[in-house]
């Protein structure tokens, strides 16, 4: 499902005429640039991958200089494929892999170390140390986040501790920190020659350093983590003009938005009202629920984060739940088990049977995530009998994604008190019709797929377009949203409850597999 090929969309017929908005998506495995027209239709796409660097088990790095080279190249590529010039582009927006951390020299623009990627677990021990006697939740009230290795703050501290002479240079104000949005914007707006050093509220909300209530850096946390404030970018809204592009074919175009990738998808799905939620089905799955102006504290293992902020309007908050293994379970069936040849075939295999045949698959490959957070859990296939075939297992694989969606949605409703009217979906797995119907059945809410699959880039484009008045308001963006498909729940309530009970029993059986942590 991650092998769905969308990169060839660059040949989409450009019946549309300008002006346009461009969006850069600086992602975990690749960077791409898409040019959109006023209706939100794709005019051109360019994409390039960058190297994944694995220095040690659990460590993941990117070369930030390579990323910047790739970004320049895809911006040029998308603009030339669209056969337009900078004059036709009203603004450029940025969305990015979240939490990935880079520190660089302000005078030369040289990174002082490879960027530490969000998946990197080298700061596990550091995070436990920061937790002191309080534990994971030490900064949750201020930041909405648990102390975990994903987030940027501990990664900055690791770099300060481990790159020779860095702390002194940082204290002298020679070094800048950024997540990938800051890195791209600083370089795009001139780098050492007047580049602006900013980040947006959504990216800043993933550092563990920003206070959700003030939307500013939290001095107490900075002191606790011993991070000098002069490193940090200015926190701005998600949609405003930060500066003007100084290089690439986009030179002269206002740089006007930044959003973390999942927040950009929320924006691209036009989830602008409290209670609207989107679910992005990729390797893993990320579900975000718009909670309006409310900072909802989670007691069910969800993360509280900023959804977006448009200019000087009030910020919009969100609850976030992530499922670690969804598309990657299908890949596992393909690559490790060899039961299917392509990801899409899981649906063929699952459709060869009427039901799961009594089998349940809980893919707790690296523990259970939201809402359980049990690192001692490991994967289980429960309910096996002689009757069970590979078709039943394929069915159980798809049901696992649907049940995990249900668990996160339940947790969100419990924490926020908001009833979900519908789930807006995007991502590669939405081409799986059986999965989408199963999600609708298990969650007992309509599942809706929009016409533009590229909701992440679209979100960044929308925010940038709003900032420069290309679109007047969020209502105009809603009018662009088109329903491509809708799956309505069609499952007997008693059957749903019975199946859910079985699933929960299977989940129970994953826990406590590892004797001790570490």
């Amino acid at each position: 499902m991650t092998d769905v090929n969308t990169t060839d969309a660059n040949t989409t017929d450009a019946h549309s005429s300008g002006p346009f908005i461009a969006a850069i998506d600086q992602g975990t495995t690749s960077s791409r640039c898409i040019v959109f027209d006023r209706d939100g239709r794709i005019v051109s796409v360019d994409q390039q991958e960058h190297a994944q660097i694995f220095p040690k088990p659990g460590w993941v790095e990117h070369d930030a200089s390579e990323i910047w080279t790739r970004v320049q190249s895809v911006v040029d590529g998308a603009i030339s494929k669209a056969n337009i010039t900078a004059d036709d582009i009203k603004a450029i927006g940025i969305t990015n892999q979240r939490e990935t951390t880079v520190l660089w020299d302000k005078a030369t623009g040289e990174p002082v170390h490879n960027a530490i990627v969000w998946q990197d677990t080298r700061t596990d021990a550091l995070c436990r140390e920061f937790g002191r006697n309080v534990g994971q939740d030490r900064f949750r009230r201020e930041t909405g986040l648990p102390l975990a290795s994903y987030f940027a703050g501990p990664k900055i501290r690791w770099l300060l501790d481990n790159v020779e002479g860095l702390r002194e240079r940082a204290e002298r104000g020679e070094i800048l920190f950024g997540t990938m949005d800051s890195w791209v914007i600083w370089n795009l707006t001139g780098g050492p020659d007047g580049g602006v050093h900013v980040t947006d509220v959504t990216n800043a909300s993933r550092t563990l350093l920003m206070n959700l209530h003030t939307l500013d850096w939290d001095d107490k946390i900075l002191a606790s983590l011993d991070i000098p404030k002069q490193l940090l970018p200015q926190i701005r809204s998600s949609a405003e003009v930060y500066g003007t592009a100084a290089c690439t074919l986009a030179a002269g175009v206002p740089v006007a938005s930044a959003l973390g990738d999942q927040q950009a998808a929320l924006f691209g799905q036009t989830c602008f009202s409290e209670g609207e939620a989107k679910s992005t089905y990729g390797t893993g799955t990320f579900i975000l629920l718009n909670t309006g102006g409310q900072i909802v504290n989670s007691y069910s293992g969800l993360i509280t984060t900023v959804g977006y902020r448009i200019g000087d309007q009030a910020p919009v908050y969100a609850l976030e739940g992530s499922i670690a293994v969804t598309g990657s379970l299908v890949q596992w069936m393909r690559d490790q088990m060899g039961l299917i040849k392509s990801a899409a075939e899981i649906e063929t295999l699952a459709s060869s049977v009427e039901d799961n045949g009594g089998a349940y698959f809980v893919p707790a490959f690296s523990g259970l995530f939201a809402p359980y957070w049990r690192s001692d859990a490991r994967g289980v296939i429960a309910g096996l009998t002689r009757y069970v075939t590979k078709g039943h297992l394929a069915r159980a694989v798809l049901e696992a994604t649907a049940w995990q969606t249900r668990e996160v949605v339940d947790a969100m409703q419990k924490d926020s008190g908001v009833e979900l009217a519908a789930v807006k979906v995007d991502g590669g797995m939405t081409s799986n019709n059986l999965l989408m119907q199963t999600v609708a059945d298990f969650v007992d809410a309509p599942v809706v797929r929009p016409m533009v699959a590229e909701t992440t880039c679209l979100g960044a484009a929308y925010a940038a377009g709003l900032a420069v008045g290309f679109w007047p308001d969020t209502e105009a963006l809603r009018a662009n949203w088109r329903r491509a498909a809708e799956w309505t729940p069609d499952m007997d309530a008693a059957a749903r409850d019975r199946e859910y009970k079985n699933w929960l029993k299977a989940v129970e059986r994953t826990m406590g597999w590892l004797d001790e942590e570490n």
């Binding site: 499902m1 769905v4 090929n5 969308t6 060839d8 969309a9 040949t11 989409t12 017929d13 019946h15 209706d39 239709r41 794709i42 040849k341 392509s342 990801a343 899409a344 075939e345 899981i346 649906e347 063929t348 590669g428 939405t430 081409s431 799986n432 019709n433 016409m451 533009v452 699959a453 088109r482 329903r483 491509a484 498909a485 809708e486 799956w487």
Partner: protein, 254 residues
């Protein structure tokens, strides 16, 4: 009916032999195993090699099964793979045309709808994936019948129901429709299945130029047609989408 063709029977025997235990065999081994003259065995092996069914190791000179056989075995295209590949193009077609889009494949003497994109207005619509449409009266069905020989035979065999007074049911007239479809590369359905609805469709080819399905749009006849003809803009959009999906499936334009 004439008897089996001897050289084909022998070629099949050679392939079976190479598929057996040893896998790599020299010319004399093949000839001896099958009781053939060396010259005869060599002629068969060389022909099979030209077709890609057999490969010869350049160093040892021994023969083994070729890559083409593997391709033949894997040629079946999974319909869910087709949907995954077609998704962005079908979305774009719906957006560009303002009409609902369907992708269909041949299934049990009819058209199985494997993908459906809603008409991009805010009206209530129901997902029709899994529905069966008739072969002889719909644009999708006519495209499949025109380009896929199996679909053609089935469409000729089935009872062709007159759904409206416009439905073409008579065999000669239907053949003429398919001929036109082949020569212009697309088919239409002008209220031949449902009163008030018109549709237009074009074939999707895989990398071996095999017709694996059809993509088309359907809408109110007042929107889709102009002066009794399908609007040329819509025909162009449908054919663009069909070409893009075919290209994503590995089909080259030549």
């Amino acid at each position: 009916m004439p008897g089996p063709i001897q050289s084909l029977t022998r070629a099949a025997a050679v392939l079976r032999l190479l598929a057996g235990g040893e896998r790599r065999l020299g010319l004399s081994e093949v000839a001896a195993s099958l009781g053939l003259a060396k010259g005869t065995a060599h002629g068969i092996l060389r022909t099979l090699q030209q077709e890609g069914f057999v490969e010869q190791d350049t160093v040892s000179g021994k023969y083994q099964l070729g890559a083409e056989l593997l391709r033949l075995g894997n040629s079946y295209l999974d319909v869910h793979e087709l949907r995954a590949r077609a998704l962005v193009w079908a979305d774009d077609l719906a957006r560009a045309s303002g009409e609902s889009v369907y992708i269909g494949v041949l299934h049990h003497k009819g058209v199985l709808i494997v993908h459906h994109v809603f008409r991009p207005d805010d009206s209530r619509q129901v997902l029709e994936v899994g529905a069966m449409h008739p072969l002889h009266s719909t644009a999708l069905g006519k495209v499949l019948s025109a380009f896929d020989p199996v679909a053609h035979n089935e469409a000729m065999d089935v009872e062709r129901t007159a759904f409206t007074h416009r439905t073409v049911v008579e065999a000669d007239a239907f053949e003429k429709v398919l001929e036109d479809t082949r020569s212009r590369g697309w088919a239409s359905d002008m209220e031949e299945t449902w009163e008030g609805l018109a549709s237009v469709a074009a074939p999707i080819h895989d990398r071996r130029r095999m017709p694996v399905g059809a993509v088309g749009l359907t809408g109110a006849v007042e929107r889709v047609c102009e002066e009794g003809e399908v609007r040329s803009r819509l025909v162009a959009s449908v054919r663009d989408a069909a070409r893009s999906i075919s290209r994503d499936l590995g089909s080259s334009p030549f």
